[in-house]
């Protein structure tokens, strides 16, 4: 018992050393021997295995111990950071690096819970060509200001069972007609789940008179007026959904399962490789194909951020720089390893590294590269919250 209590009281008193951002060599030296606790979603064995590889590499290259802390929801990490702040822990934070984007980033940044700016100090940051691709500096319209570094890209893709469906809808408007012709073959996750809210935003962007107000703070426009076409659309759509709209699933996993079980024949996901990975995992039939809507679909970048009180900031920056390297990104975009979309600009890479990416052949079930070029930028994050609230108000209690 006494041992146990003394164990509880043992606390590591060594505080954080401020990383030297002016000189990369010094930073690498500071980083050497540190341990980086990287909080990232642990739901996909492929990503987990990729991070095992990455931790071996950073050990060899920089003598850094990279530990993947598997979380189920970014909110867990956010909670921890808030708790540490509340308790006055400003330099022994338990999280060094965090996989994040959108609303979570906006909330942490607003409450001054992030360290930065640091992202543009990384030598590899130039590879994303942020001057040509502004989304590398803008997270859901919020300027990142160097408080987070790009990691992977995601895009909304639709997928269907080609054994059952021959005429998959090419737009949100066609989707309504399609759903009327194919009752209970489609559904969408309930907001405020990430994918459900994404569906609302995609639909609103296509249905609204003009998409321009969506890129400003929601309070600057007449919410009821802008969203009226969306509610009219959903009122018409719901009776034709799975379970006649009396039930909405939880997230992308449910959509995949419904398709695998043959309950639905059209679904969507925020991972362009959802269908090919689903087939590989035996969750989806081999007849599934993916595509992007004719007018393009929502696309976003997910980032890496460092909490304000991270204990090993230098090493976190070095790890982030490694994950942004051509070597790490090429391996990440390979279906065999992680199967994500790279954030690097091909033109910025030497031909030797371009070869690395060319080697990663596309799966038949995945959306084509031309399809994935049709991108729509994410609206201002305030719209996500407002749409979620309005949806719950209208449909949340039947």
């Amino acid at each position: 018992m006494c041992l146990f209590i003394s164990g509880l009281c043992l606390s590591n008193t060594s505080g954080a050393i401020e990383p030297d951002l002016s000189n990369w060599q010094t930073l690498e030296k500071q980083a050497s021997g540190q341990t980086v606790y990287f909080n990232a979603w642990g739901g996909e064995t492929r990503i987990n295995r990729y991070l095992v590889w990455a931790s071996k590499r950073v050990k060899t290259l920089y003598n850094i111990d990279l530990r993947h802390v598997k979380i189920t929801d970014t909110a867990q990490a956010v909670s921890r950071i808030i708790a540490e702040k509340q308790a006055g822990n400003s330099e022994r934070g338990a999280i060094d690096l965090l996989w994040i984007n959108g609303e979570n980033f906006s909330a942490l940044k607003q409450n001054a819970l992030l360290y930065g700016p640091w992202a543009e100090v990384q030598p590899n940051f130039s590879l994303v060509d942020a001057d040509r691709f502004p989304e590398m500096r803008e997270d859901f319209t919020i300027a990142t200001e160097g408080f987070e570094s790009p990691w992977t890209r995601s895009q909304l893709v639709f997928y269907y069972d080609s054994d059952v469906v021959t005429n998959a809808p090419g737009s949100i408007k066609e989707l309504l007609q399609w759903a009327q012709d194919h009752p209970s073959e489609f559904t969408y996750p309930r907001p405020p789940s990430f994918l459900g809210s994404t569906f609302l935003k995609q639909a609103l962007l296509e249905l609204a008179q003009s998409s321009e107000p969506l890129y400003r703070h929601v309070e600057e426009s007449d919410f009821a007026l802008v969203t009226a076409p969306l509610w009219k659309y959903l009122d018409a759509l719901h009776p034709h959904l799975l379970r006649s709209g009396r039930y909405f699933p939880l997230g992308s996993a449910d959509l995949r399962r419904f398709m695998g079980d043959g309950e639905t024949s059209l679904a969507f996901s925020f991972n362009p490789n959802e269908a090919s990975l689903g087939i590989l995992n035996g969750e989806l039939p081999e007849s599934v194909r993916s595509y992007v809507l004719d007018g393009g679909t929502l696309d976003n970048v997910s980032f890496l951020a460092i909490p304000f009180n991270a204990q090993h900031k230098a090493a976190a920056i070095v790890v982030s720089n490694f994950l942004l390297s051509a070597e790490a990104q090429a391996r990440g975009s390979n279906q065999e390893y992680m199967g994500s979309t790279s954030v690097l600009s091909m033109q910025k890479l030497s031909s030797e590294f371009q070869q690395l990416f060319l080697g990663t052949a596309k799966n038949l079930a995945a959306a084509s590269a031309e399809d994935l070029d049709r991108k729509i930028l994410e609206p201002h994050p305030s719209w996500t919250t407002a749409l979620e609230r309005a949806w719950i108000q209208r449909y949340g209690a039947r």
Partner: protein
Amino acid sequence: MLRWISFAVIFLLAAPVLIGTLIAGLPAFGYFPTLGSESFSLAPWQDLFEVPGLLKSIGISLMAGLLTPLIALTLVFLFLASASGSRLDKWIRRLVSPLLSLPHAAAAFGLAFLIAPSGLLSRLISPELSGWERPPDLLIVNDGWGLSLLLGLIAKEIPFLLLMSMAALPQTNSVERVTMARSLGYRPTIAWLKTVAPGLYALVRLPVFAVIVFASATVDVALILGPTLPPTLSVMILNWFNDPDLSYRFLAAAAALLQLCISLSAIGCWIALEKFSSLLWKIWINTGDRSTLEPLCFIAGRFGMPAVLLLTAGSLMALVLNSFAGFWRFPDLLPSSWTLRHWSGSIAELATPLANTLIIGIVATSLAIALVLSALEYERRRGLKMSMAMWLLYLPLLVPQVVFLFGIVVFAESLQLQANLPLVIFGHLLFVLPYVFLSLSEAYRHLDPRWSQIAATLGASSTKSFWRIRIPLLLAPSLTAIAIGMAISISLFLPTQLLGAGRITTITTEAIALSSSGSRNLIAVWSVVQLLLPMLGFIAALFIPRLLWRNRAGMKEIQ
């Protein structure tokens, strides 16, 4: 020493619990300086009562909290009344360990796969009998009235109540009582219900309260089986707490206090129900009726509970099938291909999580049983009832975990405690201790005091009679309490994750992390992994007394 330990329990455990709850509760009144709110207000409560469907959510939580224990307990008692000592009884006793070890979320997931429109039962009759080439569009799982939620809860709580009853039964002298009643002409089931049930109920009352609290506040079962438009209050709290918009934390804190009130009201209703049933029982006993209800009770007892257990066993089987399944199209009854991939991919890095799970479980449970036994022994010698501070220990079960643990993390951080193994063990202790306490305390308090009195007249000291008389007599309930403590520790996710800052991995943190992918196969694999450890504990709890008392005829009854 005993006195010292009792105080240690109170200060080491009750204080953090109270402080944690306070920290977690303050935002409900608008106070949350970290988010820039430093004044008190009732705005979170106004927001809360404007949430659409709140009343329905509350209603479903209350209904689940009352009907689950009512139905589960009725079925368990009718079963014990009608089947004690029969071959069926022996069979069920063997089945109870694996079913009890199945984690709640896994059991719910298995049940969903069993009863869903595309589930095993539907496949069993498709397409030949039903004509379904594709799954029918029926809202079975996640139905609006929470019936599938109720079924899932009942199926999961029956093994728990059954085990608790089996551990307490020997103290009721059931065999003698039934024999006596039968000699007066009572039919066997009626005899059991009239003479054994009231005494047994007193012994399992606290576990029943635990079921009420769990059923009215469950998150994981409600997420999988519960209604969605609106979801139960517990699920709403989780959503709000996890919302990227941090202003929802105020709402979550207010709702967490409301949830506490709901669980307490459910207990209040149950106590009223107890009074009413006791009155009914008295009237029924006074009628002297010996056989009228016998056929009904006998049939309900013989078939009711076994049917529900069969359903859980079916869920377990569905999980095992899924863990080896390749692609599995409706309406195929079996997967079109089999694979070991889900297993080989998962097992590779099992060593560290397994070791952590065992260390945390063993240390936390040993501490818990030592503290509980000392507190109960102190209480017995002093002739005191549990003090108010001991009731505080139940707070971790009453306040929604995600909110309560936030407070505990803040508390630990402000004491500058490092997120390490001892801290995680301490967090587990907060949840293991109340379960060990409620599993053991009634059995301990109701132990016939004459045994100890006889020992005292023969010159044995209090300490000697504790070790030589009370511990051996209470071996079965003690081991059951230990097994339950282990099972609880093994199943804890949030305390491990939050207090360990995710650095301490156990099989449950790995399981839940991988389950967040939603892959049915991976969930199945990890459910089976999660099930194995506690199952060993329960099997040991059932068989150790049998082994130790194989030469003691008088203890046979305990088996």
